[in-house]
Assembly symmetry: D3
């Protein structure tokens, strides 16, 4: 699949698909598909992530074919396309999760899915689908929050509880969390991390020793899923998000980590991009680039 040629159709023209790739549901020969999941009713503060997929498509108009930092043509190498969005059921998290699981089971069976959320609740059905295909997965989770709380308002499926569900359901194996910061609910949160067997690196730790974090990640063996909550980045770089925490990573710190990945990545998502709170498409553009870098890493394999 080829991007629209910017020398023929200028970048600001034609309907938006991810990276101006074809909008296409036939995945034969495709090795990477962009999939949107426009659901945000499991969020606890600002909504708007339902507009994440369309925002990220608009924010991807500047992406060009060659990644000179990794020496690869990701779209060409992976024959990538835009699969379109999952048909969610607004306001109904469990119905939506089963729709997501269905689509990702299909897409993930044919190629590597690169998913644009939506709030973070969408990662649970993605993990259900992909672990169904690949078996239990490692998880690299960029976020400012732990997301392993038990429930919110008595409800088990939210953007802050998906990781505990994934652990309970045996979908994930080793979990590394990167970018943690901000105030938390209780001193037991840190203890819970140990109990749950997850490993976390705070934002200050990443700043002090990015190499160490990357070594830990690249030490994961086996199939690995990567989930990026855009709020792992500082709100100066990503204002368009639902539960921002000050004091985060820069966009370059995150990109350089991603570029260093040598894990066996079977899926990737970037979630919690909320265009109504964005400015000048900063956050959408960053998310579009993160998917580009992740595709590049997969293309390198």
């Amino acid at each position: 699949m080829r991007q629209l040629d910017a020398m023929v159709s200028p970048r600001f023209s034609q309907p938006a698909t991810y990276a101006r790739l074809p909008y296409n549901r036939d995945l034969s020969g495709v090795r990477a598909a962009f999939v949107g999941v426009p659901f945000d009713d499991a969020t606890s503060f600002r909504p708007g992530a339902r507009f994440g997929p369309v925002g990220i498509r608009e924010g991807s108009r500047l992406l060009r074919p060659y990644n000179m930092f990794l020496g690869v043509y990701p779209f060409e190498k992976l024959n990538a396309c835009d699969y379109g969005d999952v048909d969610v059921v607004p306001g109904f998290v469990e119905d939506t999760m089963s729709r997501i699981e269905g689509v990702i089971r299909e897409v993930g069976g044919k190629c590597t899915p690169f998913i644009a959320g939506g709030d973070h609740s969408i990662t649970l059905p993605v993990l259900r689908a992909l672990s169904g295909i690949h078996g239990r997965l490692n998880l690299v989770h960029f976020d400012s929050h732990f997301d392993f709380w038990d429930n919110y308002w008595g409800k088990r499926y939210t953007h802050g509880t998906w990781l505990r569900r994934a652990l309970e359901e045996g979908l994930v194996n080793k979990v590394i969390q990167v970018g943690i910061r901000g105030s938390v609910y209780s001193h037991t949160d840190v203890e819970d991390s140990a109990k749950l067997g997850t490993v976390f690196y705070t934002a200050p730790q990443v700043k002090r020793d990015a190499g160490g974090v990357l070594s830990a990640i690249n030490g994961l063996s086996g199939k690995t899923y990567v989930s990026v909550d855009i709020d792992c980045v500082d709100p100066a770089y990503a204002p368009g998000t639902g539960t921002p925490e000050v004091g985060g990573l820069t966009s370059l710190e995150l990109i350089e980590l991603l570029r260093g990945f040598r894990v066996d990545m079977v899926g990737f998502d970037v979630v919690e991009v909320s265009p109504p709170y964005d400015h000048a498409e900063l956050t959408s553009m960053l998310a579009a680039n993160l998917i580009y870098e992740a595709m590049s890493v997969v293309a390198l394999k």
Copy 2:
């Protein structure tokens, strides 16, 4: 209850309550209470109405004691207060509806509730509560949309179906809809209005004969509920909303209609105010003023 005195504490100071009235849950002696319902997970397009109550509170800082157009001191006459918000369950419309019904049953039993949404789904539990207290009610419904569709995505409780539910449940008696416009789903929508027994006035009809519309409204006998979807007003006047339709009423047209109401109003809401899409608090300020005018009408009785 008294507003904070702007000659002592300037208008931009102190935490925001509606009209700078006391935040108070003891309703003894109170005849009017502002109640927030910050729920927006039953919306079909743009979210954000969960921030309606806090937005409307901030947008109410300029309200002064005397309504010279109606010759009344609404807050003093009604001994009004800010009751705070209903504790909603984000992402779960049915749980939230029962919370709303519970609070409004309590508040509505003691005084007239003036409700700030939230998306329009919240009006259904309000009608359940108030019809439980007062019996079947007349409904004056300002909106650009009919809101009497049967379901969205197979779901019966959304911001576009509440009115059909209210009719099915026998909560409302006569229904007058004001401000209807925009494209619709089918020619059967108009027929359905006749079948359901509702009467509607389009935005152009209101502009041509506001007096006639007001006569029809004031011809209603018996207890009446008034629900204002802020999108009945043109998005030039109310950009901060979820499903805007161009070609609407001006804010003054709506205000003058409201000031002319001589119905027996037992409750009032203004819904679909979405601050993330607002500019300079235009929409929040309009909503705050609509509640002020509605309180004034009740105070006149």
Copy 3:
């Protein structure tokens, strides 16, 4: 062609085409095509209209199938589609004009084009193409400006001179201008109108006698092109534009005029929508609705 079903794919999902119609370049059986022309280098003040087509597509997500004011299903009746954008040459007005003329000659030979600009210079090549097909056309021109100046900075092809070129080239026959206002260059502008044989109605005249304006328009006999500069509407209703003039029409005034059209419309454009200056998609939504109303008028024939 059918719109994406909002009851299956919610309105905020899937890549944007006009009214969620299919993106399609095969016009067999098609009677109406949306065509974007993302060019803004012939503008004299604020740019940004190059983002008009993508903005209008995003702003068209709420359009539903049935126009109850005209009693017609425009998309179904016209079997409408989104043809995509003309491949313009940024920064080069004459190259771009020949690209536009080529595309519109093709599209206009098969169906009625509904065009989204771009700045107003694009109307000249559209008129060249359509008069080539249909012969000399009547022109109904909504604008706050005359647009018949001779040149800007010695250049003959700009967004303020296209109409004089169209008159000189014999593309148009009778010209009616609606919405004129604001300061002008010289008292000779009014005299020039008489010399050029155009008729104009100022914004205040429209407000005082919309019926008279509509009669004049419907008195045109023969094939007619309709061009709407969004700045004919007041900037309160359409802030996202390049050369706003205060004191304009309301959106409803314009919509009601359009709905009254009974001319033989062979093409329609809405130009000068500049999303970088828009707020909450007000202007884009208005433009999307104007195209909808124009399609409805054509569908009525």
Copy 4:
């Protein structure tokens, strides 16, 4: 004095002066001068009007030489210039007032001043200066507020008390207020109007009988000052202001009133334009046009 020629220097170029007129402090031969008064420390709610003069200058770039509605070239006829701003003392209203009075006494002795505020407190020293030159003046006051309260927080010089001071000091004779609306402090406000001898027309009254209001204004005999608080216009048309009141005039209603003025205007101001709350320069552009229309009226004499 001549505007910069837009056919030589495009409208978006060169440093901004009002209407691109020369920045000039030598008033010989000048009959109209734009004067900025960037003071906003006497405001009771939102500040920002200190940026009014620079905002209005930027918003005046589209003004062209000829007013076709009045048939006059205002800048040429009045040999108009931009005098620059009064050097205010931020945070100190009384020092600032004496600076304003000094400048306006000088400017007003040589030509008609057209003043851009600043908050409404600045009108008091202007009236002191101009009544010193011309004797007691009539005042036409466009506003949504009465502005004749006695004090705020015990302070006598604020944007809500200047009119009472002007009356007490005998600076004004007949006062006509236009556009009054919104909630007020007390029923005595209306009584006070009668006691103070002022006449007022509410926004709804203007909408119902603009001709009657204009007759009353044109019935004033003797030298007259015109002060326009931009909040007389609805916030949909003028969001960039400090104490907005919904339900106001449209910009065209105000412009048409102004165009009908046949009073002996010796000075004009537009105040309370607050660019930080504006969008796409809507409010600044409106203010720039109001000064243009006022200059045109004076030029007609």
Copy 5:
């Protein structure tokens, strides 16, 4: 005092107080009180800091009970509350200063005040009050500006002169300034620092040796006041401020410095937060977090 429970009342609901703590003027048993000072008439450029306290309250909705970086529950440990705002006198800096001094004398006698400005002039009366209680204080002053100029426009009390006044009045002892940068008035500014006995670290110095800066600060013995002008942080992180200077600290650099404080802190302020210039509450959220970290440091003692 307890925060509203986010598992009962979602974060976006209920009127805003700082960190959703009780609004309470009875300080018995309270060890930390949030106090707003909404005054901005002593500013020399952009106003808007009068909306700082309400902005910071809204921006504090995400704060959770436990600071895992310092291992402390600040609100619980300090039994913290929101005291509300000082009743300022808009436009009158000296009256306002005496009001501030009065309130802080009372609050500071009972607990540690955590103050949200307002412009930086408010720190002078705070120092008067607290030095009255505790004796001469050390001052740690984060800012991009020196703020020790003698006067502005001949006025001695402004947001750029408060520090000189504090030195002249003998309120402060050792002064350490952190984050200084940008252009200055004169080479004597640096000399003045030496004469006045203050020590300063520029933004580049902080970036090169944060540890050294922290050592200097923690070397202060005796009671210490900490004042944070939000413009010490780069405007990318804090756009909502009055006199931004590019090239500043990141939010994490400031937070990590604060977390390292082991001084005897008797009061804290964050000033110059101007919500009208903010985007997506970035600046307000940062300010809310700075107060949280400062409370944590005090709670550790």
Copy 6:
């Protein structure tokens, strides 16, 4: 030439010139002139840089006389002024280039020009003019893009091809590019750099070894031109630009590099500042400061 005194005329007052310096076309005795070039029709994505010069003027109001980091009074030392803008021809890049070349030949013959764009195409005619005066120049080029592509849409003069033209025309000698990042068109881009004889440092390289980059720059011998595309800085610091690339430099990193320059600078530009996409003047303020630092470097000589 002297800046307007902020202690007499507050910073927010009077028409804007660069750094409030005199607007002046007589260059006798002047050693540095600010020149605006408001052209943006050679851009490939977002327009708006035509408003760069007026934006940068407004963003320069806070600049003060003394640069304490370099120990110099740049404006006084260079007797600097604001020359105004080049009269461009909107929509016509070649006409505009000859206008630019003419003005810069004149200005550059008398003093050092400090140029505010406009899009990057404007640097080509500037280099033509200055190399005509000084002979072949070294070029230090800050950018996220190479800008040495051959053509866009078959057109040779665009904001992405100016550098190839400059090399072909023999205008430049050694070229050092700083800040390169983002996706590119082809692996041949890197090879082309070698063929063309340019040297580049990516953004990550700058972050890892700013000293090395500076050494390379200061190793240039002979007259040198410095061109800064504002997008070399991360969009968090400079959102107001046309083709943003995430993962860039911080503003301080760029400023510190500039302060370290010891080259023989004969001209400087900052381009691609697009105010319609800016927030709170962040980008304009940064650009204004970059010119200030560049003037300081020249003043040091």
